[in-house]
């Protein structure tokens, strides 16, 4: 029993000795670190400490969660983003909605169901309604013309509608349709 204890004690002592020697060697190696590395380490420390001096607001947390930095959102960036978005709208939406011929082509290709997108259909309706009485009425209501001027505008609008109908269907067809309409009515 005693020899076992003695053996264990000597083993512990050897372990301690080895451990102590290793610790001394490690300490010496740290002391002999080159000034260049020491400088780099202090730079790294300062770099890390910069993170503690910055207060973390909820907005900053949100930015960091999204992987963004608030520095990315300067006035110049915001303006650039707006211009870019506007250009995107022009590029992708402009030719589709402002080109009346394109919309008419789509419309005449089939019925109104030719529009796969309901927004397309709405916009088409709006553009088509430009010459309708509803728009003219609202135009008249909102305007500050006197009675004579309004009559002139209405007459002009009627003349424009008439000329369009004539150019599309021809005079004879137009008169037949109107006659039939009168009989049916």
């Amino acid at each position: 029993m005693g020899s076992v204890m003695k053996h264990k004690k000597s083993k512990d002592m050897t372990e301690d000795l080895i451990s102590q020697k290793a610790v001394d060697a490690l300490d010496n190696s740290v002391e002999s670190l080159s000034p260049e590395i020491q400088q780099k380490l202090s730079l790294a420390r300062k770099n890390a400490l910069e993170h503690v001096s910055k207060p973390t607001s909820s907005a900053r947390k949100l930015f960091s969660f999204l992987g963004l930095s608030p520095a990315h959102f300067g006035a110049r960036t915001v303006v650039s983003a707006l211009v870019f978005s506007f250009c995107l709208v022009l590029v992708f939406q402009g030719p589709l909605y402002s080109d009346k011929q394109y919309i008419d082509r789509q419309y005449t290709a089939g019925t109104s169901s030719a529009f796969t997108n309901p927004i397309d259909e709405t916009i088409h309706t709006l553009i088509k309604d430009e010459t309708t009485a509803t728009n003219i009425e609202s135009f008249i209501l909102l305007s500050s013309f006197n009675e004579t001027e309004l009559e002139v505008i209405e007459d002009l609008e009627f003349a424009y509608w008439l000329s369009e109908e004539l150019s599309e269907h021809g005079f004879e067809e137009f008169s037949e349709e109107n006659t039939k309409g009168d009989i049916d009515a």
């Binding site: 451990s19 001394d24 380490l41 790294a44 890390a48 503690v52």
Partner: protein, 182 residues
Amino acid sequence: MREVKTIQIDDFLKEIEKRAFRMAQMATLCEADALDIVQEAMIKLVTKYGERDSGEWRPLFFKILENRILDWHRKQQVMKKLFFWRKPNLEIGTQDENEIEQVDHHGDGESQLISEQLGERLLESIVSLPLKQQQCFILRSWEGLSIKETAAAMNINENSVKTHYARAIEKLKIQQQIIENA
């Protein structure tokens, strides 16, 4: 309040940085990577755990450092598989040889020279240990972490810590005997 915390954490990092670097350097055998690892660990400690009690920093820092070292090794394993034709870049080996040469030139006495050379050899023995044994030995012996703290830092159980430590000591003992006999 924040300034006090900054000063405290600065002191803590100042105290620990060199040892952390040495530890990372021995684990990675690359000076630049060791510096990166230490910096990342510092930043993570400051940003994530800077507000915690200063007593908690030491085990937390070593846990972060251990994780970074492990990540580095995992990355190296993947790189080794992808670029199998490349030879590994072992900076520390050449650096240690240089340091031994410096010791040869600057040693004051013969006995000091021998003890320093023995120390260098011992360091080389520590470097040659398997990673887990090496880290376990350094954390327990050098950093003075308890078995529980070492287990938490290394993400292993306490029995594994004891096993790794015992094996490390056994290997170092053998190496030491070889050095002394030579």
